[in-house]
């Protein structure tokens, strides 16, 4: 999960856009991803986002997430195969050749297709969200959300959740090291991951609560809850915004055409 959900300072076309345009793009992409059950359409949207990310000069940032996402998808496919039988059987999770237990847990085309759709949809949503977060300063995001009439407290809550993800990742790593230095070995695999949670999550949550107190006081003392910003610092709508708006309209039309048949 390294480097996920962080603003990156890059001199790129997306960074110069107004946050509202990017929010619209995110919403349209999410709706299309949810409505589409065609893996090719979803793959096409992923490709489009990657092209846009390359144009915005942060393609590498998105691609670094791919190994983790593939890993997540593998788990999802396994889970779907275990719980869903639909369509033709193309093999068995436990090969037929194995004595006594062979030929169990069929792998069906329906399960694979469904898992592929869910995985690709997950890729689309996370990439689209990343595209917005990497290229939008949180201050601009908060202002845009306020223009969409989201109360400032809610916007700040979202901002803080996003801002603290990398800090808490580092904190989690430190806690994990501290417990390993006490010879803690929860073992590998699923069981190990679950056992590892208690000695890590309790200090992580406790330390976060300690931070929350200071954070809340800082927000109040700096008057951030009023967020009465100097208005003319807002990023104006420029050519890239209009180009993305055209793309959004094109996506809506194409999506409607595909979905309506």
């Amino acid at each position: 999960m390294a480097e996920i959900l962080q603003y990156k300072r890059i001199d790129g076309v997306f960074h110069r856009m107004n946050a509202l345009t990017k929010i619209c793009f995110l919403l349209v992409v999410i709706v299309l991803a949810i409505l589409s059950t065609n893996p090719l359409v979803l793959a096409g949207i992923i490709l489009l986002i990657l092209i846009l990310a390359v144009a915005g000069r942060f393609g590498r940032e998105l691609l670094t997430q791919v190994p983790m996402l593939i890993f997540l998808s593998a788990g999802l496919i396994l889970l779907t195969v275990l719980t869903m039988q639909s369509g033709d059987v193309i093999g068995y999770l436990i090969p037929v050749g194995m004595p006594f237990i062979g030929g169990h847990i069929p792998i069906t085309t329906g399960a694979l297709t469904f898992a592929a759709i869910l995985s690709l949809r997950f890729f689309v949503m996370l990439f689209a969200f990343q595209l917005m977060i990497i290229s939008t300063q949180p201050r601009d995001l908060v202002t845009a959300l306020q223009k969409l009439h989201l109360p400032v407290d809610y916007s700040l809550m979202l901002l803080i959740a996003i801002r603290f993800i990398p800090s808490l990742q580092l904190e989690g790593k430190r806690i994990q090291e501290a417990q390993r230095a006490r010879a803690y070995n929860p073992g590998g695999g699923v069981r190990g991951k679950v056992k590892e949670l208690t000695p890590i999550i309790i200090p992580l949550v406790s330390n976060a609560l300690g931070k929350a107190n200071v954070l809340g006081l800082t927000i109040d003392l700096r008057g951030l809850r009023t967020m009465s910003r100097t208005p003319s610092l807002d990023r104006p709508f420029n050519t890239p915004d209009y180009l993305l708006a055209v793309l959004i309209v094109a996506l809506v039309i194409a999506g409607a055409a595909v979905i309506l048949g």
């Binding site: 803080i160 806690i175 390993r180 010879a183 700096r222 003319s232």
Partner: protein, 669 residues
């Protein structure tokens, strides 16, 4: 709240990897915990649910992620309602509230998904899909998730509630004193006027501040002195109006800020126009994602013209020497840099007074000097400054006045000249220092490092370090932040592996051994004890490490008794670790490692954030450990404490050892 959601998001994302993790949803568990802890109103509860819904939707790989936008606000409301209804009647109210919230959230999610599938909005998952089979298939999952979440929330609630100091005793109690006459129009009005001011925390049995009467004129720089737990931080919280506006508890006496009664201020935002506070936790004060944005957030809230905002931004960056770091995200900055940013962001709000609560506690000499230089400029600009500092000498050049707090009482109020005239600097231990390489050693070293190189990506943190450490040595590794000290010692217990070179610990090649194996020979105490403490009693905390290395339970009990006595925590085995003072937690962290009886004990900044008395207590423990034959290695940026206690001092700079000197014929001062 946002912080808890961030943890929930991280865990939710990571748990996606584990198929069995369908039985827990940390986002729900943690927003329920937040609701239980802060008990928000309906509007804020819905807000929590909406934000949780947005985050869940974006990292969910379920059939219809936007359903989270409906299910999570509903779950949040149910949590609030159930907790409000049960908290005074049953001890497991957090369990009940979280269980109910997860059930409602889960079944709402399913109901919304079914509606969108039935309406043809999205396709059904598979050919054989029916509503009945779908509900039958997912119901057990939701119930199991609810059970898992309830357990998580209840387990986390106990330490969390203690940390937030909420509980039945003293809850929702605040006695506010009478309002004082408004003198804010008078230009000569003092910045602070305390009159018979006392305060008791909600769970406190005695006042944290007692009968404080004090006037601080505008433009004065006041140093607040006192031992750990004396009440210095509470004094700062009072001066900033935080106790009155944000904390529960009992208050007596009066307090005026810039001529206006503290109760006369509308809220903390109103006080924030006059007073800025820089806390010791630098990271928690940085809200935005770049240095520039952090400072702009203060400037943009002052109603200035855009051009003026830009000019003042440049001025502030230059004033705080942050121009080169303007585009850096906070989590990539050093402690000193973070504190400079939070000071800059505070100053950007244009306050007339700045309060610094141990803001330099974790900083090295250079970083502290840079903060003091900024404070000197502020003083010249006529700002009022209140500083809490464990090392008074560092502020001698700017302090006008020193007040000393002891047991919550103001026991001394003197000019800086008077204070420093009688202030005694700690003395260095006796003995001649000589180059370690010229000393002939007997026997094998416990730690042997040869040409160690370590790189993080393309950055070289260690560039060919070689050293030997022998039994019974008390070694201090000193250097500025980023000099490679911590990177070096993390090789001794396998947390880091060499890029090249060798590290041998007790005859084992540290590059090949597992951390859990090396931990039996080389124990590491981290800088912040809260990084490791997670159990609900001191005894269990100590047992954790010993259990990991297979110590017999009867033997473990004996060791707990001995080691707790050694670190001065005898008879405290049933206490909740996080309720102890910072110094006591640090001693407990050391005890946890010492109980595992490693030959080598490594401590990363063991005295950071402690007052001189507590720091000396820690150092006495380390000296007795080295006297007992352990090789004790401490990383520190505090040269004064090192000079007073260490027998050998290794100085590092830019990833290399620049000097390695050992005291001969020495003794304690």
């Amino acid at each position: 709240m946002g912080i808890l959601l961030a943890i929930g998001a991280i865990l939710r994302y990571l748990l996606n990897i584990i198929p069995t993790a369908i039985v827990s949803n940390p986002i729900i568990a943690l927003y329920c915990l937040a609701i239980i802890l802060i008990r928000p109103n309906v509007r804020d509860t819905i807000g929590i649910g909406i934000v949780a819904g947005i985050i869940s939707a974006l990292i969910s790989h379920s059939i219809f992620p936007p359903a989270n936008l409906i299910s999570e606000p509903l779950g949040a409301l149910v949590c609030m309602a159930l907790y409000s209804a049960t908290r005074k009647h049953i001890p497991v109210a957090p369990t009940v509230a979280t269980f109910g919230a997860t059930l409602v959230s889960g079944f709402t999610f399913i109901a919304v998904s079914i509606v969108v599938i039935a309406s043809g909005f999205i396709s059904a998952p598979g050919e054989g899909f029916t509503v009945g089979t779908f509900i039958i298939a997912v119901s057990p999952v939701i119930v199991l998730t609810a059970i898992a979440n309830a357990v998580i929330a209840q387990v986390l609630y106990i330490p969390s509630a203690k940390i937030l100091m909420r509980g039945a005793k003293g809850e929702d109690v605040q006695v506010r004193p009478e309002m004082m006459k408004d003198e804010s129009e008078d230009p000569h009005t003092p910045a602070f006027r305390f009159t018979g001011f006392s305060y008791t925390y909600p769970q406190g049995t005695k006042p944290a501040l007692t009968d404080i009467t004090l006037t601080i004129p505008q433009g004065e720089c006041v140093l607040v002195n006192g031992t750990t737990g004396a009440g210095k931080t509470t004094f700062c919280l009072a001066a900033a109006g935080i106790l009155c506006h944000e904390y529960e508890g009992t208050m007596n006496g009066t307090l005026s800020l810039f001529g206006r009664d503290v109760n006369g201020y509308e809220d903390m935002g109103d006080i924030g126009r006059k007073i800025g506070v820089v806390f010791d936790d630098a990271d928690a004060q940085l809200i935005f994602t770049t240095v520039e944005e952090e400072i702009l957030s203060g400037l943009e809230n002052r109603g200035l013209q855009p051009e003026e905002v830009k000019t003042r931004l440049e001025d502030m960056l230059a004033f705080t020497s942050l121009t080169d770091l303007r585009h850096r995200p906070p989590h990539t900055l050093s402690g000193g840099q973070k504190q400079r940013v939070s000071l800059a962001a505070t100053l950007a709000s244009g306050t007339e007074c700045v309060i610094l609560d141990e803001a330099t506690a974790e900083l090295d000499t250079a970083a502290t000097e840079s903060i003091v230089a900024i404070l000197a400029k502020l003083k010249d600009a006529g700002k009022t400054i209140i500083v809490v500092e464990q090392k008074p000498r560092e502020l001698e050049s700017i302090a006008d006045r020193v007040i000393t707090i002891k047991d919550g009482r103001l026991v001394k109020d003197e000019t800086a000249e008077e204070f420093f005239a009688t202030y005694i600097d700690e003395t260095e231990i006796r003995g001649e220092m000589m180059d370690t390489t010229s000393i002939v050693r007997q026997g094998e070293p416990r730690v042997a490092v040869q040409n160690l190189v370590h790189t993080y990506g393309e950055a070289r943190a260690l560039s060919g370090v070689s050293l030997d450490i022998y039994p019974g040595e008390l070694v201090a590794i000193i250097g500025e932040n980023g000099s490679g000290k911590t990177t070096l010692v993390k090789h001794f217990n396998g947390l880091l592996r060499p890029t090249s070179g060798t590290v041998t610990v007790c005859g084992m090649n540290a590059a090949d051994e597992r951390v859990t194996h090396l931990a039996q020979k080389a124990g590491l105490v981290f800088q912040n004890p809260d990084t490791m403490l997670f159990e609900d009693t001191v005894e269990r905390e100590m047992l954790f490490g010993m259990k990991n290395i297979g110590i017999d339970p009867a033997d473990a009990q004996e060791r707990i008794k001995d080691v707790l006595g050694m670190v001065g925590l005898g008879g405290r085995s049933s206490q909740f670790p996080r309720a102890m003072s910072r110094g006591e937690r640090q001693r407990l962290a050391i005890a946890c490692v010492v109980a595992m009886k490693p030959d080598v004990i490594i401590l990363d900044e063991p005295t950071t954030g402690l007052d001189p008395e507590e720091a000396d207590r820690i150092m006495d423990i380390l000296r007795s450990l080295s006297g007992a034959g352990h090789s004790v290695i401490m990383v520190s940026h505090d040269l004064s404490i090192v000079k007073r206690h260490a027998q050998r001092i290794i100085r590092m700079d830019n990833g290399i050892i620049t000097s390695d000197r050992t005291r001969i014929n020495g003794g304690a001062a």
